[in-house]
Symmetry: C2
Subunit: 185 residues, 2 copies
DNA sequence: ACCTGAACACCGTTCAAGT
DNA sequence: ACCTGAACACCGTTCAAGT
């Protein structure tokens, strides 16, 4: 699950991986889990945690970087295998399912999309949406002039639906609404 | 600005108003302003702050209750004076302008809409959107079956647009997109 | 080169003691 | 009835001292 980081002394690499492991668990249980508690769980001093991840945000990013990469690289795969509109919809469904399972990940997405300062997440995500939009436009499925960054911001509702288990149709209904606004006619 | 609360001893009432005053300023400067710092600014002990507002959220709500009430009561006024679609759009514009000015208020809206546990804010807001939707539906401007709570969640982007001063057209563009999804045709 | 863990300056919140 | 402010159990983060 965790890609090894080269150029580190073996104890440092082991610590780094142990930290990412326990942080993944801790954030899954409670996205507000404290830095000190994670350091304890990993069996390292707080200084070691901060040596590897200089801020809370860096740690969260370290934990979810892989998931975001998967999501981003999924976009071209979907457009290659499906009609454009279908590809867009499938990608949104995946985004929604992430929100359902990975609570900490939605925090990353939230701060990245709310504030493009977090370019490391924002840029690839905006790129993925841009690719989907362009494909749909070129096929004549979307009307022209849809801004990918606007759409990414708009799609934020997907990871803000609470308790989507109790209301599984909600994301679908809302996506229908958004897509009606995107369609060429 | 602050409506006086009756049934309190005069010193308690004065403290309450002083707290709300400095909290309003403090949140405007920094939505993360700490409880202790607000107590200091108000010249009261932290215990007094907690006597009046038993949690951080209660204080934030105390500060912005008035603004939310204004927003909610604005909806029927707009539908009385304007065509339904225009009324809806004007209300959304107001919502967006709140997001531009009152940073702390957007936090209230965010937690209320993300989690309907905060019914004190959520219910009236959903009611206002419901009224606007119903008016538009009855006039045949919106298609049938639009869910007010869905729409409120969707409109969240309005208070998540950062730096809207530098990009004043963004909210308008995005609202156009959403309204295209709402329109009957 | 990396780790430890005590320490700093906070935080939200509580509660005994006062008036 | 209300206020004070010391105190509690934390928090994120730093850094001298170790290996």
């Amino acid at each position: 699950v965790t890609e090894p980081k080269d150029g580190l002394r073996s104890d440092a690499r082991a610590n780094r991986e142990k930290i990412l492991d326990v942080a993944r668990d801790a954030f899954a249980r409670d996205p507000q889990a404290s830095m000190n508690s994670i350091a304890s769980l990993a069996g390292v001093g707080p200084g070691t945690l901060y040596r590897h991840f200089p801020s809370r945000e860096a740690l969260i990013l370290g934990v979810y970087r892989h998931e975001i990469e998967v999501l981003v690289t999924l976009a071209p795969k979907l457009t290659a295998r499906h009609p454009p509109m279908k590809a867009f919809r499938l990608w949104c469904d995946r985004l929604a399912s992430y929100g359902r399972v990975k609570h900490g990940l939605t925090d990353v997405l939230h701060s990245a999309v709310a504030d493009p300062v977090h370019a490391e997440v924002y840029a690839p995500m905006a790129g993925a949406v841009g690719h989907l939009v362009q494909t749909c436009e070129e096929a004549g499925a979307f009307r022209r002039g849809i801004d990918a960054e606007d759409l990414l911001l708009l799609l934020g509702f997907l990871w803000r639906i609470k308790d989507s288990g109790a209301n599984p149709a909600r994301a679908e209904r809302m996506l229908d609404l958004v897509m009606k606004g995107l369609e060429a006619r």
